[in-house]
Symmetry: C2
Subunit: 204 residues, 2 copies
DNA sequence: GGTCGGTTCAAACGATCGTTTGAGGATACG
DNA sequence: CGTATCCTCAAACGATCGTTTGAACCGACC
């Protein structure tokens, strides 16, 4: 099937697809290794266990996402003329880019599924490894929205994140038309999200 | 363990808890029947299969949720002095009530997980069985927001739903304090959600 | 050529899964 | 009492799971 890259990378690629389609429990190592065109034992040889493979699937994408977010944030943070749209763009666009990078728009489904499945485990993992990213964005939002108390700001960022996750996962009523390119759909999603988020964040 | 109600109801109750905690694949019928205090074969006897049990878990809660939503909507829909807050309250509050009804705030996790797992299957199920509810709410939103085009309105309702789902599932940064009662937390969530949604729906 | 670490392979391991079976208990009605 | 119906039970079924094993392959280096 997939015949490019090292065995490790072929496994990671097939894992992302199958985990998104069938879930972590639902996707078996036999399906996975068959799709990747590698031997069944390769997963345990290269990753140690199925659980560690799951963790690697996350790390590979989340590292890229958060690095991209921080880079984008650094370009606009702290400036005198920074707008809410700028910061939201830095927050949203890398996520939307990620959601159709590589294996299509699958990773966000993996993430959404993981949120539902691993509960506290994943939450702690995200908080420990990527909490500083949220902290930097929160600080910049706080600078641009000084009238909001901290709890109020947390709530609003939380709701924005919910809308973002929902939109990225492709649930909901809005289905992409077949004749709309992926780029165009992503642009439309980003546009709606940012306008929605600006309104939700800055209302009195 | 659970010793009240019929065997069928004990199974449904235990299933809701375990599906939320471990997922549909992760929760085995042996764990489930042990927790419910019934025999292993009781699931297949009363429900036919594990899949049909999953469907019943959904129906029981979703029927109540949608009935509650429609009742609340009927009280405010079509009136001359209806506000956006009224309709949003009818949309949001039954969901928040459901999320901590009975077995605690577990069902929404079940639903969020199901969204991630069953993808098209669940989407079609929801659309076929409860699509008319969304249609009625959309019509009322359209009446109160005549300046919005249909695609624009769909997008905004979608993003509101994302924020609602996110908040109900208990993900995100906002964690309930231990000294805050469930009712107080639900009120706070509803208040933030409605204000956020009003801003996101009605912005120019 | 020989050998050695890294990798792939087919095969098997024990565990656990959803489901089925057939015997037995419980209750109601004649 | 007889029996018909609904339900529960322990036990087993075949299938599939993640993981392990030990042999075979392979390019690099002496």
């Amino acid at each position: 099937m997939n015949s490019s890259g090292s065995t490790k990378e072929r496994i990671l690629g097939a894992a992302e697809v199958l985990f998104a389609q069938r879930g972590f429990d639902g996707a078996s190592l036999r399906q996975l290794t068959t799709a990747a065109g590698v031997n069944l034992a390769a997963v345990n040889y290269h990753f140690g266990s199925k659980d560690k493979l799951v963790e690697q699937v996350f790390r590979r994408r989340l590292d890229a996402l958060n690095a991209s977010r921080l880079t984008a944030l650094a370009k606009v943070a702290g400036a005198a003329d920074t707008t809410l749209e700028d910061v939201l763009d830095a927050y949203i666009r890398p996520a939307l880019d990620l959601s159709h990078d590589g294996s299509g728009s699958l990773f966000m489904r993996v993430l959404a599924r993981a949120f539902a499945e691993h509960d506290d485990t994943l939450r702690q993992f995200l908080s420990a490894n990527y909490g500083h990213v949220m902290r930097q964005f929160t600080a910049e939002f706080a600078r641009l929205l000084p009238q909001l108390s901290k709890p109020e700001l947390y709530w609003r960022i939380d709701l924005v994140t919910g809308a973002l996750t929902h939109a990225m996962s492709g649930f909901g009523m809005i289905q992409r038309q077949k004749d709309v390119s992926e780029n165009a759909h992503r642009e439309e999603t980003a546009r709606h999200l940012i306008r929605f988020a600006v309104a939700g964040l800055s209302h009195p």
